[in-house]
Amino acid sequence: MLSQQLVNGVLLGATYALFALGFTLMFGVLRVINLTYGFYFSAGAFIALFATRQWGFSIWLALPLAAIGSGLIAVLLDWLLLTRLRAKGAPELASLMVTLGAVLALYSAMTLLFGPDIRRLPPDVIGADALVFAGIRVTQAQFLVVGTTAVLVLALVALMRGTRLGVGIRAMAERPDAAELMGIDTARLAALVSFLSGFLAGAGGVLIGLNFNAIQPYMGEQMMLRGFVVIIVGGLGDLRGALIAGLLLGVIEVLTAGYLDSGLKEAVAFAILVAVLWTRPSGLFGQAVLRRA
């Protein structure tokens, strides 16, 4: 029983981690709390929903398509909403308010278009057989969650470590002005970082939609609450921290639901957030920086 709960928790946590990685990357490099981030999660799930239900795509095609689509939406929204503010050096509160307004408008528009019903991806997009190992059941869909998360995390780490592009992104995170003088086109890198974070959020949205009855326009909004918990506990801009904190949150939520009460899941998550902020204001792993990637 406990081991099954732990496995389920890790699977849920992997999705949280994927979502939070993009969020913390965006914040760490672009230094802006972009509240439209949750929308990319919804967008990814809906793109996959259409690709599978309307066009009959397989999940292997729908997942990358949804991730790329969400990445492009992220680039577009960042450009549309934040370029002007960045050029003017507007205070952080301005971008917070602009993205808050924009994301609420986007969710409403989406509800108008698709209705508020909760949907899920057609169950037959992926095989139903489960692997049973020592009494623990893992479905193919759950394998896909872990596999996708692992591949994307490794790819992100490969990019950030030791490649000039990754070094450039980290340079921009630390000192955008000096990076620009080194010949780094920071506007282009900002677009790339937006794409990568939208890609991660969109992939997360598909994976959640695959495992739960969860696809509805405001799904990103609910995810954002967890995203905040994870990136703050993990340390803002800390990729490794987001990964670990995401997994932890998934496990804690599943255990709370299993042994206490499923209504307490969120209460426990936020109690942890408050406790971490009280004791370690810059996150569990100390100095929070993407630079350390």
Partner: protein, 269 residues
């Protein structure tokens, strides 16, 4: 041959004219110094050339291109690099990674090739690391390439900034007060480094307060005062220029000095 020239370059800040119609020409292969009293507009001139500040009027020509309105990173792409008066290294990255940022504009691989680490990307990345190591060797930091840049002592951080700027073999290196805060031994090894950089084919334009250092290494000097150019020529000629002496010592002192000189001449046979 001229590498960099400015014509009527002017920058106003809310009523203050920081740089006022400056004409300057930097010759290829030279070490060119810009000096002047505090507030003379040296740093603004540097910021105009590297693109951190836009000119109010006038133009900047670099290697035959008008760069007056070009974004900062594009100027770096044309072969211009700079260091700062207050050090701006990436302190949370290693020394080698810092130098690699200077080679960012030489990336040719796409993001996909980089994430997948295709063979062509590997080769390019290896070449970049080799070039970064050569730049570290130039400034004498080879043995510290894996240390965190923030942990280096002050003098080494200055050298690291120069290595980072030199990694892409720029045509022009801008040094903003490179000798600031250095002791005499560090200053003389810096002078040797600047000479090595010039001899390797990079033109050097620097702003500096240390007059001994300037006289020692410069092939040409431009003197600014209140944003205006008051002298332009070889370092040896500065001492004879009344406008420069006046700018540094004030009118009264300059006059007294001139009088004494005349007096000496009168006494001499």
């Amino acid at each position: 041959m001229t590498l960099l020239s400015t014509a009527g370059l002017t920058r106003k800040f809310a009523g203050l004219v920081a740089v006022d119609g400056v004409d300057m020409a930097v010759e290829v292969g030279s070490v060119h110094a810009v000096i002047g009293p505090n507030g003379a507009g040296k740093t603004t001139l540097f910021n105009l050339i590297s693109g951190l500040v836009e000119p109010t009027s006038g133009s900047i020509d670099f290697n035959g291109n008008d760069i007056s309105r070009l974004p900062v990173h594009a100027r770096a792409g044309l072969g211009m690099a700079r260091s700062f008066q207050n050090i701006r290294i990436f302190s949370a990255m290693t020394v080698l990674e810092n130098v690699l940022t200077g080679l960012h504009s030489t990336i040719t691989a796409g993001v996909g090739a980089i994430v997948l680490r295709l063979p062509g990307f590997h080769r390019a990345e290896k070449t970049a690391v080799e070039r970064a190591r050569m730049a570290l060797e130039l400034v004498g930091l080879s043995s510290k390439s894996e240390l965190l840049a923030g942990a280096l002592p002050y003098g080494d951080q200055r050298r690291l900034e120069i290595a980072r700027a030199m990694a892409a073999h720029p045509r022009l290196l801008l040094l903003d007060e490179p000798a600031a805060g250095m002791n005499p031994a560090e200053t003389s090894s810096l002078a040797a480094l600047v000479r090595r950089i010039r001899d390797a084919g990079t033109t050097v334009l620097l702003v500096e307060h240390d007059m001994g250092f300037v006289m020692d290494i410069s092939d040409a000097v431009t003197v600014l005062n209140f944003g205006r150019r008051i002298f332009h020529g070889p370092p040896g000629a500065i001492r004879q220029e009344p406008a420069v002496i006046e700018a540094y010592l004030g009118k009264k002192m300059a006059a007294r000095l001139a009088a004494r000189k005349d007096g000496q001449k009168a006494i001499a046979p």
